[in-house]
């Protein structure tokens, strides 16, 4: 069979909603796109632990601390599910990690913003996890089997993340005037970066068409962003908080909210490494990687020694 035939069979499977599995033939570009997307998604989960981890020791109650610990641990889990999905495509875990540490691979820009007050932990769960869920629910139906399965697992866990965030926002927004001010301040800072999480406008998103054709994505960036705005604005109203966008209004005709212009210069500047925390995030990941090196090596050496002992019990006991 020619590769043209392979490609036709591949596309007809996609069109018929048959999932692509690891050993199936797939175009090189599909594989590359997936490895890039899945690993960047994994990196985002891992780096995403840092802004929230910042508040674990300062959580105001044991209940909040337990919740935050569990959430951050989930994010580590999400990263691992996704790395393992990327590995089914032939990617090497250590290569992926190196790409993150050297800056060759990107992660979601949202995690380059700092968590300045306790309400930020609520805003992250509500808005950042909320935006992630909008995207991830779509990805549970992505065409690549292992990625779709990882997403199903992740989405089940995400709804806890969003709800605990909203509950925290409620506590702040309905609390003292100072608490309410903190909640408003955090909404002011997180709203626009959350909208940027969906990526550039469709008109400026060159890879989008192919990703839609391959059903890696099933909705465009702008569609997802609109979904998110439509469900989130009433949630903000319930809290009695003001979305920091003077152009935001319900458009009866469209049946959607209209919203203001996103500052794409800020977006690209953060993507390029100049956000408030880019360097700090990579430094933290690099330190964790380097500080853990001896543990990884020692565990491997220990495992090898145990294995040897099993193979030749006498020789090993004499040597010991």
């Amino acid at each position: 069979m020619t590769s043209l035939n392979f490609e036709a069979i591949f596309q007809s499977k996609i069109d018929d909603e048959v999932k692509i599995e690891p050993k199936d033939w797939m175009p090189d570009a599909y594989r590359k796109t997936l490895i890039r997307q899945i690993s960047q998604h994994a990196h985002s989960e891992i780096v995403g632990m840092l802004p929230e981890g910042n508040w674990i020791t300062r959580a105001p109650s044991l209940r909040r601390k337990l919740i935050l610990l569990a959430k951050v641990q989930d994010e580590a889990g999400h990263g691992l599910y996704l790395y393992s999905a990327a590995e089914t495509l032939g990617a090497d875990r250590d290569d992926l990690v190196q790409q993150l540490l050297t800056g060759k691979a990107k992660y979601s820009s949202i995690f380059n913003y700092p968590t300045l007050n306790w309400a930020d932990i609520g805003a992250i769960g509500w808005l950042v996890d909320g935006a992630a869920i909008t995207n991830q629910v779509m990805l549970t139906r992505t065409s690549y089997g292992p990625y779709a399965r990882a997403m199903v697992r992740i989405c089940k866990e995400e709804s806890f993340h969003q709800r605990q965030g909203y509950e925290l926002m409620m506590a702040m927004a309905f609390g003292s005037p100072e608490q309410k001010a903190m909640a408003q301040d955090s909404l002011n800072r997180w709203w626009w970066p959350a909208l940027m999480m969906f990526g550039p406008h469709d008109s400026d998103s060159p890879h989008s068409d192919q990703a839609l054709k391959w059903k890696i994505k099933r909705k465009s960036n702008d569609e997802l962003r609109q979904n998110f705005v439509d469900v989130t604005v009433p949630q903000a109203e319930y809290l009695g908080l003001t979305v920091p966008d003077p152009d935001l209004r319900w458009n009866e005709e469209r049946g959607h909210y209209d919203f203001g212009k996103i500052n794409w210069d800020e977006f690209w500047s953060v993507v390029k490494g100049n956000g408030p925390c880019n360097r700090q995030r990579i430094q933290a990941r690099t330190k964790a990687y380097e500080d853990g090196a001896w543990v990884r090596e020692a565990a491997m050496a220990h495992a090898e020694k145990k294995e040897q002992r099993k193979m030749q019990p006498e020789a090993a006991s004499k040597a010991a």
């Binding site: 599995e21 050993k23 199936d24 033939w25 569990a70 641990q73 989930d74 889990g77 691992l80 599910y81 393992s84 999905a85 590995e87 089914t88 090497d92 875990r93 250590d94 292992p146 399965r149 990882a150 697992r153 866990e157 990884r296 090596e297 565990a299 491997m300 050496a301 220990h302 495992a303 145990k306 294995e307």
Partner: protein, 94 residues
């Protein structure tokens, strides 16, 4: 010496009476650590009562390109299915 921890495939029995089912993979230095990591990674919400770990390199998988010759023989044996047989309506419990 730099060597990555090998990859393990993880299978979870979600409750007694059900099969172990593949859930994903993870890296660990040995089987014991693979079990512990699988516990933390795949059963944080009571998803399992039993875990199997198998080093990925020990899995032999069929080749999807061979799936036609592999599964073809079963395809034309319709007589293996109960629907192949007509039993009169008067006859019950069958």
């Amino acid at each position: 010496m730099k060597k990555e921890w090998p990859l393990w495939e993880i299978f979870i029995r979600s409750k007694s009476g059900l099969n172990h089912k593949h859930v994903g993979s993870l890296h660990a230095a040995d089987a014991e650590m693979a079990l512990e990591n699988a516990r933390d990674l795949y059963t944080r919400r009571n998803e399992g009562v039993s875990i199997w770990v198998v080093e990925s390199k020990h899995i032999t998988a069929s080749d999807p390109d061979d799936s036609d010759p592999l599964f073809e023989p079963a395809r034309d044996k319709v007589y293996r299915h109960p629907t192949f047989y007509t039993v009169p309506d008067e006859v019950s419990h069958m």
